[in-house]
């Protein structure tokens, strides 16, 4: 029996971060797939693990009993510190600061914009096909008021033109600045593969497919070089093989395009 159980959706965005961090560290874990599109994360059995109903969550059993950890980036930092294996934080203090800065930039500024676009074109339309009464009940079960409002907005397609324009502005700007960053260093924030790469890769791995006007061999050669380098990591291949939807299939499509 493994000591670590990870409750996650697809190897994508927040769920993909601890999946890949565990894989990189070589930590065996029990995978518990939470189907976000079926609202598994708001069902009583999952709320018993994480009452906030957010994914991912990780449990770690040991002499202390069982710990529950939440918030994808913080889980990654825990995984890196708690387990042996390659260090996924650079040794230099200024590099460590830069890694943290980029992760916050993604988690709080750029990521929500990727997410808003993704939800408006992917999650919302898929979920809207379901019975409206069932959807209303599912929304009512969401524990956090902010997440309840976010889901309602995504499901109803209520993002305003201004909100979408602002998200597109941030995505374009974020990609441009990431391109600059990767022209200065081999990896995000330092010259060594780190948690920042895992974080940002999980939200940018399909850029050549999802944002071809912004990210391509011609427009963003540094990002493409970096994507290829990260894509070729054994842990990335193993993690993306755990995907159950066609999101994971984008892995091979992108690889074909950048190799």
């Amino acid at each position: 029996m493994t000591d670590v159980t990870l409750y996650h959706w697809e190897p994508n965005a927040n769920s993909g971060k601890p999946m890949l961090a565990l894989m990189e560290k070589g930590v065996p874990f029990a995978s518990h797939y939470i189907d976000m599109l079926q609202f598994d994360q708001h069902k009583p059995e999952y709320l018993a693990i994480n009452p906030q109903g957010t994914i991912p969550a990780m449990t770690h059993r040991g002499a202390w009993g069982s710990r529950v950890l939440t918030e994808s980036t913080a889980i990654m930092e825990y995984v890196n510190a708690a387990f042996p294996g390659p260090d996924l934080m650079p040794a230099d203090a200024q590099d460590r600061w830069r890694v943290r800065w980029w992760m916050k930039f993604m988690d709080q500024w750029l990521g929500p914009s990727f997410s808003m676009i993704g939800w408006s074109v992917f999650v919302g339309p898929r979920v809207r096909e379901r019975d409206p009464e069932e959807l209303a009940a599912a929304i009512e079960r969401i524990p956090l008021p902010e997440r309840r409002a976010a889901w309602k907005k995504a499901i109803s397609g209520e993002f305003s033109a201004e909100e979408m324009a602002e998200s597109r502005r941030r995505v374009a700007l974020g990609i441009a600045r990431l391109e600059e960053e990767l022209g200065k260093r081999d990896y995000v924030g330092s010259n060594a593969y780190s948690l920042a790469d895992i974080n940002i890769f999980n939200s940018t791995y399909s850029l050549p497919l999802s944002q071809p006007d912004l990210a391509s061999k011609e427009k963003t050669p540094n990002i493409m070089r970096w994507l290829k380098r990260v894509y070729e990591r054994e842990a990335v291949g193993k993690t993306w093989a755990m995907g159950k939807t066609d999101m994971a299939a984008r892995y091979s499509l992108v690889m074909e395009g950048i190799v």
Binding site: I75, Y78, K104, F105, P112, A150
Partner: protein
């Protein structure tokens, strides 16, 4: 490490966190006060790598410049200083305790700090910002790279107040005070057990709310006592002594944005 200079505002909010962390480490880093409401943060000299200043999330927080690189975000600066000093005790060594502290700090920086900044600015900075003549305001905001930070300056300059945003911010301040009260209920002196960055960052955004939102503290004696304990910590005393005004906890400048979505 190249030449290091910490540019900071009055010791409140993000600037207070970093000034206190620096005092705790004992590191010899030059501190230079700047007038945040004059836009001085957007005219720092010798920047070769400004992205963290240009696109920082925290708003008008302190900037540590090392080797031409602008470093921002107060929690990460506090971590950096602690680590540069070889670990002076501001972060737990244990991985789980460290995760717990990071989670706490993220709650504070995502929820309390945007709320406190909004209420603080409305109470003490809006009049000054609104009084900036149009041509000078255009020049000041024209130097701000971040469109969203510039938008927060413009909202204060316009004088438009969204009552729903004010009510939401008051609720978030109340909630932060209650989180402290709950955490301190077992008799501990400091939020995470040992004194840590969590105490610094929480104090830095909450202490200024005592005068603006007294209702948040009225029935929370443990939180009031904890605020007094933090205020008496030598590193906080040192940071507050750098103030150039009589009441630094009433000094505010445009802060982080309130979450756009979810």
């Amino acid at each position: 490490m190249g030449e290091a200079v910490l540019y900071h505002g009055e010791p409140n909010g993000a600037s207070l966190t970093v000034l206190a962390a620096l005092a705790e480490t004992g590191l010899d880093i030059s501190c230079r006060p700047i007038e945040l409401l004059a836009g001085a943060r957007h005219h720092l000299p010798g920047l070769a790598e400004p992205i963290a200043l240009d696109l920082g999330i925290e708003g008008e927080g302190p900037v540590l410049v090392i080797g031409g690189e602008a470093m921002t975000e107060s929690v990460f600066l506090a971590q950096y200083l602690d680590e540069l000093a070889g670990g002076c005790g501001l972060q737990p060594d244990d991985a789980y305790a460290h995760w717990d502290m990071l989670m706490w700090c993220r709650q504070i920086t995502e929820r309390l700090s945007p709320a406190a900044a909004l209420l603080g600015n409305l109470a003490s900075a809006q009049a000054a910002i609104a009084a900036i003549p149009a041509d000078r305001f255009a020049a000041l905001t024209g130097a701000i790279v971040s469109d969203d930070l510039r938008g927060r300056w413009q909202a204060l300059h316009s004088g438009v107040v969204d009552p729903a945003q004010v009510a939401d911010s008051e609720a978030k301040v109340d909630a932060a005070a209650q989180r402290c009260e709950d955490k301190l209920a077992d008799g501990r002196d400091w939020l995470m057990g040992p004194f840590s960055i969590a105490d610094l960052v929480t104090y830095s955004w909450l202490a200024g709310m005592e005068s603006i939102r007294p209702a948040a503290f009225a029935c929370r004696p443990l939180t009031r006592a904890w605020l007094a304990r933090v205020a008496a910590r030598p590193c906080v005393v040192t940071a507050l002594s750098l103030a150039t005004v009589s009441e630094p906890l009433r000094s505010w400048a445009p802060g982080p944005e309130i979450n756009r979505w979810g």
